[in-house]
Each structure stands twice: as C-alpha cells, then as structure tokens.
C-alpha cells in the first residue's frame, strides 16, 4: 500500500482537536458540519476517533497541559494525514503570545514528532465557515 496522500483528496474524514482554545473556532467548526454548509458534498465527514481520521482540525494555542495530548492524537492518526491549524491562535499563537502556559503554535508541536508533517493554515479569529471550507478545499487540491 503506497502512503501517497492522493486518495484523501476526495474523501477527507475530519477529527476535531481543541488544544486550549477560547472555543470560538470550535463553534465555527461545529457550524461548518451542520446541514447549512453541507460539507458532505466534498466527502468530508466528522469521525469520532483519530484512527479513522484523515484531517485533524486543530484549534487553540497549544497549552502546556494539551501539548502531550496533541502529540498522542497525532501519533494515533493513521498516516497519511493532514493537519489543519484553524484560527489565529493555532497558526501562530495570536494574542496569547506571552502567556505563561503557551508552549507554541500547532506546527511547532507537530514538527517535533514528525518533521515531514503536512500542515495547512486557516487564519482568522475565528475564521468563518466559508473560509474554513475554502482553506480545506484549496489544501486538498494541491495534495
């Protein structure tokens, strides 16, 4: 079985990880998965286990408490997989840059265990569901 990421293009199953967010991005992600935006036409489906997932939607600046959990979830996701950093905090810690509990943005934590990880960034505070769809579709089209 080749580990090329091409079959994910048409059928990305997503799993949502919150690493210490203020919950705005999580609300927008939950909005995204409602019938109004209909992401099932892209083949996107919300799954309950990281082992079934192809795309991790990670929100939140990674706190010291959440960093080992994020690493564990990434390790348990079946490769090949894509990590989407949703929101300004996940892309680059946002306004919580000098917080005492902030360990780093998402890509810093993921690259510690997998330097070749595929990471896509969807900035916004929070990004609108349309922006998240646009980011996911654009990222998948260049896989």
């Amino acid at each position: 079985m080749a580990l090329s990421a091409k079959p994910i293009k048409k059928s990305p199953w997503v799993f949502h990880v919150n690493t210490g967010a203020c919950n705005n991005c999580d609300i927008e992600i939950v909005d995204l998965l409602t019938p109004r935006f209909d992401v099932e036409r892209f083949g996107i489906k919300l799954v309950g286990s990281p082992r079934h997932a192809d795309a991790l939607l990670v929100t939140g600046v990674v706190t010291a408490q959440a960093a080992p959990r994020l690493r564990e979830v990434y390790r348990q996701t079946a490769k090949p997989c894509v990590v989407f950093a949703i929101g300004a905090c996940a892309c680059g810690t946002g306004i919580f840059h000098t917080g005492y509990h902030v360990v780093g943005p998402v890509d810093k934590i993921i690259k510690e265990i997998d330097p070749n990880a595929i990471i896509a960034y969807v900035p916004g505070c929070p990004p609108k569901p349309e922006a998240i769809i646009s980011g996911v579709v654009k990222a998948l089209s260049i896989l």
Binding site: M1, P7, S11, R41, D54, K79
Partner: protein, 314 residues
C-alpha cells in the same frame, strides 16, 4: 460449466461479491443522498462510497499493543464472509431455485448473526474502554432483536404452510395478511438494528462513545467493516423481499417488480433513519422483548388460527 466453476461464479461474481458490493455501495450512496435531500442539502456524489473505501485501503493499519491480534484482524473477515454467503444464498435461491436445498431459511438465519457476532468479537479484542462499552451495548442489542426476528420468521413459515425453502416461501406473499404485516414491520425494525442505523445505533454512538465498537480500527480493516455494512444493506432487505413480499421472479417483469420491492424496503429504512432520535439500550431491549415479542406472539396465534381454518387474511 462444472459445478466448482459455477459455485465460484456464484460466490465471486453474481450474486456474490462483485454484485453485492457494487449494489451495496450504490445503496449506501442512495441512503446518504436521500438523507441529504430530506435535510434540504445536496449530499455526496455517486462515487463517494467507492472513494471512501479506496482511501481507507491506502492508509496504514494501526493495531493497539494490547489487542488480541488474530481476533482483531480475523473479525472483519468473518463478518464479510457471513454477509457474502448470505447474499449468495439468497440470489441462488431466487434465480436458480432447483439448485438449493430445503431448510435454507434456517441457514440464512444463522448466517445473519455472523456479522453482529464478528463486530462483538472484534471490538472486544480492541483493548479500549470505548470499545468495551460499545461491545456491551451491541451484545445487549443482539440479544434484544434476535428473538423477535426468529419469531417473525416462524410466522412466515406458518403462513406458507410449513415450507422451509426460501423459493417455496417466496411463492406466497405473507405481508398481505394481518399477522404477516405485523411480522414484516417487526422484522424491518430488527433489520434496522442489525445494520446499525438510528434509532438503534447506540453501539457506535458517535457523540457519546467516540466511535464505540470500531474505535481502534483503521485503514484496510475499517474498509472491510464499511464494505460489510454496505453489503448488509443489500442482503438483509433482499431477505425481507424474498420472505415477506413475494420475492423475485425469473422473468424480466418479475425482476423489475422485485427490484421495486427492494427499493421500497430501502425507502422505508431511510425514512425510519431520518425521523428518529437514538434510543437508550434499555429502551431498545424493552421495546424488542415486550412490545415486539407480545405483538409477534399474537401474530403467531392469528397465523395458526388462519392456517387451521383456512382464513387467508389472518
């Protein structure tokens, strides 16, 4: 054709693996598309289930360290084999009625248990607390609906005068009578629970258990489970069509009406799926044992009375 080649043809091509898997993937797309239309949205394209399987086959297979490896890998294969044999049996009894043996309905009832049993075994070999809760629920659910299912088939056997062959039963239409209609409706709900659709999907309850029974499966093994699920969407409604609704004829008109009956059963399943919330496991068991059980006991009594006195509509 020699009989070995004919058996291979039956199992692999028609009505076996290729036909059932193809029709099953189409049926699972139909379920998703109609559910989407009911929710006023567009839904996935036709090839989506095939793309899902293809993507799953290209991912790595993760096996938990403490899992029982042989049972973990063998369970989806057993489930697939059960559904495959069931659909082969049904197809052969419909289109080649002289090649089949008397009593195949009993074999079919046994084969129908295999996928559920495989799910229980596979998830209990997963070494995960989520899967353990899902296993407990699935076991209780199977205990719940197996009894009404068997009682419903006893009604059918009584109504068709004690015939035990599927092709002989298919000559009658038991649903056109009170006891037959009750038995049809109850067995429709049991089939619904066996496939694992709402309102009986508490074993794989996504919002509560994070994927429940299938929590630790990934890659090719998950593809096998999805394929089994899709094939059950063909085998089980076909079984209902054969046993309750008069089956398939061998003429083109008979095949067309048979297909219409199959689509009708599928539409009923989609309607039930889209209009109901998930129930708790104790509510489900109470429903199957008390309500369905009592209704079927009454149906058996009516059917026996109708058989003795020759009243057809009982």
């Amino acid at each position: 054709m020699t009989s070995e080649m004919q058996i291979l043809f039956w199992i692999l091509l028609f009505p076996g693996f290729v036909f059932t898997a193809g029709l099953g993937l189409f049926a699972s797309w139909l379920v998703r598309k109609v559910s989407a239309l009911v929710q006023y949205r567009v839904g996935p394209p036709v090839l989506q289930p095939l793309r899902d399987i293809r993507k799953l086959l290209s991912k790595e297979v993760l096996i938990p360290e403490q899992a029982n490896k042989w049972v973990f890998i063998g369970a989806p294969l057993v489930g697939l084999a059960g559904v495959l044999l069931l659909s082969t049996l049904l197809g052969v009894s419909a289109f080649w009625p002289r090649e089949i043996f008397v009593g195949d309905i009993i074999v079919a009832i046994y084969l129908m248990v295999l996928p559920s049993l495989a799910l229980i075994l596979g998830s209990s070999a997963s070494a995960s607390p989520h899967a353990a809760v899902g296993t407990a629920r699935e076991m209780k659910l199977v205990m719940g609906y197996e009894l009404p299912l068997v009682l419903a088939f006893i009604v059918v056997i009584i109504k068709s005068g004690g015939a035990l062959g599927l092709s002989a039963i298919a000559e009658h239409t038991p649903v056109a009578s009170i006891s037959g209609a009750v038995a049809f409706f109850v067995s429709l709900l049991c089939i619904h629970a066996k496939i694992g659709y709402v309102p009986f999907d508490m074993a794989e309850a996504e919002t509560e258990l994070g994927s429940g029974v299938l929590m630790e499966y990934s890659g090719g093994l998950l593809a096998l489970w999805n394929l089994t699920s899709a094939m059950m969407l063909v085998a089980l409604p076909m079984f209902l069509v054969q046993v309750f609704l008069g089956g398939f004829g061998t003429t083109p008109a008979g095949i067309a009406t048979g297909l219409l009956k199959y689509v009708g059963v599928l539409v009923l399943i989609i309607l039930i799926k889209n209009t109901n919330p998930r129930v708790r496991i104790d509510q489900a068991m109470r429903f199957f044992w008390i309500w369905c059980g009592l209704a079927l006991v009454a149906a058996i009594a009516l059917a026996t009375v109708g058989n003795i006195y020759g009243i057809g509509w009982l």
